[in-house]
Amino acid sequence: MIDIDKISKIARITLSEKEKENFSKDLEDVLLWLKDLDKIKVTKDIEPTFQPIETKNVTREDIVEPSLEQELALSNTENKENGYFKGPQSM
């Protein structure tokens, strides 16, 4: 059995009791399906691929360039005060 309360807490999603029941079943079915991965033999020389192509560091000269203006950065929310985002209490 998966612990749906724990997963939803980590995922920061509030679920109704009905959703908990439905998603528990869905997740158990899908995880059983994903178990097929266990059957695949992976030799020790196989490294994980995090990017499908080789990526190289992109650097630039350390020159100050204009960035998004504060007013624009705050333009999509009502939750603002004195030029800052306003959020819920964190402590």
Binding site: I7, I13, L27, P88
Partner: protein, 474 residues
């Protein structure tokens, strides 16, 4: 001028000479898409006023090179300055990006005009484009069938509109090829990293690729020439030089070797298989040699894809918390409680399902079993493709195992049955290789798409093969 059934190539030639009234053309575009929208629902937003303003300004401009005023639609996952961008999600309703995605900027710089934002599955989570908060797009050929996902609006629109237009789509696991196949148009997904993802609303960073849908291979090659190239704002872009991809159209494919993977025919619709086999037979008259091959890792692709894609999605979607943009609630309570409430209220079932799954497979104790293992299997899948491309110039296979399903049949599918529909497209997407789907025939009057895959950055070969096949199939 009459733009009906005019090809993009002809439009650009005429417009570049100053023979097209861009304002008149765009007025006709809006007349057409407003009618189409009422019947099929392909758009989330139609920014008519802004687009007509640009068309008016362009009319006065004497130099109309490159896209020359062409109408371009964008999937709603790309940020468009001043135009609402939702990625198909309720959680982004009302979000007005303060900047353009690099792809949008490139289109505007090349004199393209954005005519609208097309409907998609929420954040790209879907195979049939039935998971959008902004209505379901209907197949332009049979209205009780789906367009395919997740770039469903782009696929449907490209078929339905008969005035020159090209669409921008995005693929994580097959979201360009699938709607292209189901709607009967061409869909090009480039090599991972060839097109900048800056300003794209991410689904899975190591898989997302922005591409294009058009009525012909030429149209997609033309748009690729505009959107491809390195971007200092996007560190995974590849340092390529400006390229005119249309030069590959009409080139001979004599002597090319085409691999046909036998595993891609397992369990597919028999009538679809017949159409694909018939199209493959045409390679001989083009002087290309097709040969059956085996891609043994095909049986691993689905679990590998769903582990990686959902793991990456679950971290990407952490940013939607009802604070800085999109849906919001009255701020009260503690940090985590507030975020969890907003996310619980505004994410759809499929988004929740994928976030929960991705969270689980990254959790301590399961990470090695699922996430790391999938990343290693991905290496094996890439090696399998790479080995094939040592001998073969391209791989050709069916794009989808079926024709566009009816909505009433989609409703009966479980999540796993739906995910299994991606079997033929997730492999090349995991490998980050370029792919193009072109129409190759019909079954019960519905289009069938054939998929042409090539090695990383071998878009030239892929386009040559696609355009040669397109010509003989017409």
């Amino acid at each position: 001028m009459n733009y009906k059934d005019m090809q993009v190539k002809q439009f650009i030639e005429e417009s570049s000479k100053g023979n097209i009234d861009i304002e008149d053309y765009h007025a006709k575009i809006f007349e057409s898409i407003e009618k189409i929208q009422k019947k099929y629902n392909y758009f989330v937003t139609i920014p008519k006023r802004e687009s007509l303003k640009q068309a008016k300004a362009m009319n006065k401009n004497k130099t109309k090179d490159k896209l020359a005023g062409l109408a371009v639609s964008s999937k709603d996952c790309l940020c468009t300055k001043g135009i609402e961008t939702t990625a198909g999600s309720k959680i982004l309703k009302g979000y007005i990006p303060p900047y353009d995605a690099t792809v949008i900027k490139n289109i505007k710089d090349d004199n393209g005009i954005i005519i609208g934002k097309t409907v998609m599955d929420e954040f790209g989570f879907g195979t049939f484009c039935t998971n959008s908060a902004y209505g379901i797009p209907k197949n332009p050929i049979e209205i009780d069938r789906c367009c395919g996902g997740s770039s469903g609006g782009a696929g449907g629109l490209t078929t339905a509109i008969n005035i020159p237009h090209i669409a921008i789509g995005e693929s994580t696991g097959g979201s360009i090829s699938c709607p292209a196949a189901y709607c009967g148009v061409v869909g090009l997904t480039p090599t991972y990293g060839l097109v900048s993802r800056y300003g794209h609303i991410d689904y899975a960073n190591s898989l997302d690729k922005i591409g294009t849908l058009g009525k012909s291979v030429y149209d997609t090659a033309l748009m690729l020439s505009t959107i491809a190239g390195p971007d200092p704002k996007e560190p995974t872009t590849i340092n390529t030089k400006p390229t005119d991809y249309t030069k590959n159209i009409g080139q001979s494919i004599k002597g090319l070797k085409i691999g046909i993977p036998k595993e891609y025919f397992n369990g597919i619709d028999k009538d679809v298989e017949k159409v694909i086999r018939k199209a493959i037979d045409r390679f001989s008259e083009l002087g290309a040699k097709s040969q059956e091959i085996s891609l043994k890792t095909t049986e691993y692709v689905l679990p590998t894809y769903y582990v990686i894609a959902t793991a990456e999605a679950s971290t990407n979607l952490a940013r939607y918390c009802g604070m800085r943009y999109g849906a919001t609630e009255e701020i009260k309570g503690k940090f985590n409680g507030y975020f969890s409430t907003v996310r619980g209220k505004y994410f759809s079932d499929e988004a929740k399902r994928r976030i929960l799954l991705g969270t689980y497979t990254r959790m301590a104790g399961y990470r090695d079993q699922y996430y790391l293992k999938a990343m290693k299997v991905r290496t094996m899948i890439i090696n399998d493709f790479k080995k094939t491309f040592n001998t073969f110039d391209a791989i050709v296979a069916p794009t989808m195992p079926n024709i566009a399903p009816k909505f009433k049949d989609i409703d009966k599918l479980s999540p796993i049955e739906t995910y299994a529909m991606d079997n033929l497209t997730v492999g090349p997407n995991l490998a980050g290789i370029p792919m193009i789907s072109i129409p190759c025939g019909t079954v019960k009057g519905m289009p069938v798409g054939i998929h042409i895959l090539a090695d990383h950055l071998k878009e030239d070969k892929m386009l040559k093969v696609a355009s040669a096949l397109e010509k003989v199939l017409k």
